[in-house]
Amino acid sequence: MEITLIPKQRMILVRATGEIDHHSSEAIRRLTEKEIRRSGAVNVAFDFGRVSFMDSSGIGMLLGRYKTVKALGGSIIVYDVSQQVKRLIEMSGLMELIIVSDTLQKGINEMNRTKGVRI
């Protein structure tokens, strides 16, 4: 897992890898929350391109981060998701709350379309 900052979008980019379950989602939660506080970012993008499996613990983790950024006026983007992960996100109703896109750029475009561009 790797976290980078995209200052222009007031965003942190979390590149998750492997399988997201109860065991691994705890580390993602902890590190993402820490980085949001440290950097002052209000938006979080998750790159799921290297995530091979996710269960409902991942849904809980995404919902938790949604609550954090919502309080800051920000958004959650999840991009490059597998069919398996997409099916779970659809089942959970999270589609209504977060942006799911093919690429980071498309996600950012959608975010800025709904909110107006931040400079």
């Binding site: 379950d21 109860h22 705890e26 499996f53 269960d55 613990s57 849904i59 398996q84």
Partner: protein, 142 residues
């Protein structure tokens, strides 16, 4: 094709991945589809996570998993000897979580129901919980 498996693991979160991977690999010989494998992995992961988080309240205990394959029907049981579920009906409600203070989504039983063909939950407070899940695999194309 008939086969059985038995797996006994300590209730550690590190074992969730091991358990779901073994349960999916149990079917390799009958050549399931990728989708069936991923549904089984997800359903088993939910059941094992339930045993660890709710059954044993993230404490010490043992989770016993069995698998039975008969033709193209597979049955898994996931058993813990933990605290049990006081109200199974309520626990099975979509989005209900017994641990609202945590980041549990409450989707566990809904996922097991959606991804498997049959789901039976037996539980007795103080004694533990056994989840039985059955899935009928599609016929081989060959």
């Amino acid at each position: 094709m008939k086969n059985t498996m038995l797996l006994k693991i300590p209730s550690k979160s590190e074992n969730e991945r091991f358990a779901r991977t073994v349960c999916a690999a149990f079917l390799l010989e009958v050549d399931p589809t990728i989708e069936e494998m991923s549904e089984i992995k997800t359903a088993v992961s939910e059941a094992v996570t339930n045993a660890i988080i709710h059954g044993y309240n993230s404490g010490e205990g043992e989770v016993v998993i069995t698998g039975e394959l008969s033709d193209r029907t597979v049955t898994y049981t996931i058993k813990d000897s933990g605290c049990g579920i006081p109200d199974i009906e309520k626990a099975r409600e979509p989005l209900y979580t017994g641990k609202p203070e945590t980041e549990r989504s409450g989707m566990g039983f809904s996922i097991m129901e959606a991804f498997m063909d049959e789901l039976v939950v037996e539980s007795e407070p103080g004694k533990g919980t056994t989840i039985t899940m059955i899935k009928r695999l599609s016929e081989n194309a060959e």
